[in-house]
């Protein structure tokens, strides 16, 4: 394989990426090949010493944020359709059933990540709510005392103490659980990304 063939192959493997990203990657590999030649290697062996275009593309794609890969995919569809939005819509509606299924699978996977994140958020919202309720009970207690209703006031103080202390006691395990959930969500997203990248790069 000579330099131009290598770069063409790499360009093809990266076609789903945004244009500047492709240019940058190609420039990097072209520079390496030129430097190898300058060092005394002939063109063929300079290229042969590199990772295969497939492997190189895979490394590049694996390091891209999921968003730009998906955007790149959309760009590809648009390019093929000549940028006509109606055609794009028709293509999506009329595309073979597996594409829809793939999309559905991706959405399901993504929603799991969202559920994990939502669980995490709800943990802390609940904790904040209980804490807030405790503080409100204190206000209530002050009000009861001021209108001359000590029994209810004492009850409110007790309720406030129970609520606030529950949050303080449970804070540590809660935070731990929260961290775990976040970690799980992040791992999950990375897994989905792998799925996408492999499907497009190989």
């Amino acid at each position: 394989m000579n330099k131009q063939e290598y770069l063409n192959e790499l360009k093809y493997r990266l076609k789903n990426l945004p244009e500047p990203e492709i240019e940058k990657s190609l420039a990097f590999y072209a520079e390496i090949i030129d430097d190898r030649i300058e060092e005394g290697a002939d063109e063929e062996s300079a290229v042969a010493g590199l990772a295969s275009p497939e492997a190189a593309a895979k490394e590049i794609l694996a390091d891209m944020p999921l968003g730009s890969i998906v955007r790149g995919g959309a760009k590809q569809v648009k390019k093929r359709m000549g940028g006509k939005p109606l055609l794009v819509v028709l293509a999506v509606i009329g595309s073979p059933i597996w594409l829809t299924l793939l999309l559905a699978a991706a959405i399901v996977l993504f929603s799991v990540a969202i559920v994990l994140a939502a669980l995490w958020a709800s943990l802390f919202i609940c904790a904040a709510a209980v804490f807030g309720a405790g503080l409100l009970c204190l206000v209530q207690a002050a009000a009861e005392f001021s209108v001359g209703n000590p029994p209810l006031g004492v009850f409110s103080v007790g309720a406030a103490l129970v609520l606030v202390s529950a949050v303080i006691l449970l804070w540590k395990p809660l935070a731990g659980l929260g961290r775990l959930l976040l970690k799980a969500a992040r791992l999950w997203i990375r897994k989905i990304k792998r799925l996408f990248v492999n499907r497009r790069a190989v």
Partner: protein, 113 residues
Amino acid sequence: MDMQLKKGLLDVLVLSTLLKEDSYGYRIIRDLAPVSEISESTLYPILKRLEAAKLLNVRTAEHNGRLRKYYSITKAGKARIDEFLSEWQDVMKVYRFIESERRLSESAPHDAN
């Protein structure tokens, strides 16, 4: 080796090649050859990551009638190396502890249970 650990090590390793002077892709690989068989395809994402994190700067300059990208380490990049070295003091402490424990266990007579 653990992937995450290796990634972090390579990042700092690449940065360290820029300490003496600015460098370029091919030369970084050549400089690192004695320590690590790092390939172009591994180096490229690392350089991109380091640039995005502002640990290095990139400039394009002409060389023999073509363009070459030169990488230079930033202040933040140097700070990252210092941080790495001080972190690894602790890792080395753990390493030496584990090593000495093993040595002790090898020289001590074995427990019956």
